[in-house]
Symmetry: C3
Subunit: 194 residues, 3 copies
């Protein structure tokens, strides 16, 4: 990340926000979804293409899961889309412009990273295209199958969130299973976040 020129990084974050917003808007209009479903589809639109790229060039975990600015901006876009979907119709042209910025930026960054990973020109262009249109394609596929995909979301989300709560509480208040006393209450820096 830090090796990217600042302007390109700013464009990348802008595109991530725009894809999160626009992806979630498409989801809102195509299917009746609650806020979790809409935000998840926005996240997938914003980060799915980069996931495929990072998998194929063996750069894992994906960059957008390691840097909180990406998933925070994509989530923010999704939340705005959910809350204001009607009012955003007036801003459709501006959103389209942002979306085009994201599309081009993602293609350039995707191709560039593939090149840096040692791929040739043709496969790198292919990876640039996949980075740009992959997320939207996954979203559209998921919208087609949305009833089932979403059915377990609340339960899964609850379970995953509960898992953290328990671990965080355990670390903070020494609620772990019995251990030798000298390790109890030790801070686990992992819990501090990304």
């Amino acid at each position: 990340m830090s090796s990217q020129p600042t302007a390109l990084f700013a464009l990348d974050l802008t595109g991530t926000f725009a894809f999160g917003l626009n992806g979630a808007l498409t989801a809102v209009r195509a299917a009746r979804l609650d806020v979790v479903g809409v935000v998840v589809l926005g996240l997938i639109t914003a980060m799915g293409g980069g996931f495929i790229r990072d998998v194929l060039i063996d750069s894992l975990p994906p960059a957008t899961l390691l840097d909180w600015r990406y998933y925070t901006l994509a989530t923010l876009g999704g939340l705005i889309a959910f809350a204001l979907s009607r009012h955003l119709r007036r801003l459709e042209r501006a959103i389209d412009v942002l979306d085009a910025v994201g599309l081009s930026t993602f293609a350039v960054i995707g191709a560039s990273k593939a090149l840096d990973a040692g791929l040739g020109v043709a496969p790198s262009i292919l990876l640039g295209v996949i980075t740009a249109v992959g997320g939207g394609t996954i979203r559209d596929t998921l919208v087609l199958t949305v009833e089932t995909g979403v059915y377990g979301l609340p339960a899964a989300l609850g379970a995953a969130a509960a898992c953290f709560l328990i671990r965080v509480l355990g670390v903070r208040y020494g609620l772990n299973a019995p251990e030798p006393p000298e390790t109890r209450g030790r801070k686990d820096s992992r819990e501090a976040g990304a």
Copy 2:
């Protein structure tokens, strides 16, 4: 695997069986498939979410392909679903309970593994959700495109199985291409399984 608490591991295997069973049941009811198609869709339901998680946290090959208990239980679930799909209607409530156990367990394990891989809280919750609902989503997508997806299954399966037969026979009876005599007939421990 061995570092998981035993209770969680037992729940994980239970969930894998339940997802294989329920995933295959959904496939049986949604489309006319032969036993291979049904079992493959059950396997994908049971292991697909974990595949995505293990890819994204760079823990490959996926845990469920390395431990025979996972894919054996998922296959067993799929076979039972295929053989007894009508009779299982009476057990629908019990299957739903097992499925909920699997959903929660997968979410917890998925989030926990993401955390262990160094991801922050928010992306780890996202990976927990993906682990839990990813397999069912892939299954639903495949059921939509099932005619073609299944068209080449028997041939591909036959070819892949023939490949093993030849290799296993080759190793066991020295049918390999000519080699220096001291290596012929040597046992290849790889053939012994996962």
Copy 3:
């Protein structure tokens, strides 16, 4: 690659061409697509199954993105399908034979690579099947969602191509951002291709 027997490698290339051709033909007949969309769907048909296999056995970047013969033959198949789709109806039987060759070869190679990666017999057969039918399944899924998947293709392709043009020109004519003089104009061997 070089460790594969020559005959199997020739069959693999034949199958890649056949899948690119047949995958693109299916795309031409299922949806109104321009040449870029058709060729991309041909590429995905030919290489998608191998992508999934290489991801799951942790052999990345995928073999078909590293060896130019694979993606060139798949692209060639896609271009022929686009240009001659009507005339190819007469050759349907021959194409089916080539396709069956590809299906079997992909299954054998996929299972074989999984075995070499240390997987057991059952998951290796599963990976053989995925290698053989994965690409066609992804294509069929994409054809279902094709309007959006293709919407951004030209822009993304243009941006990715422009990215290379700029980098290649920069390297060739010293158009880079200011650098210490001794590094300017230095040839970057990466730009030479795959």
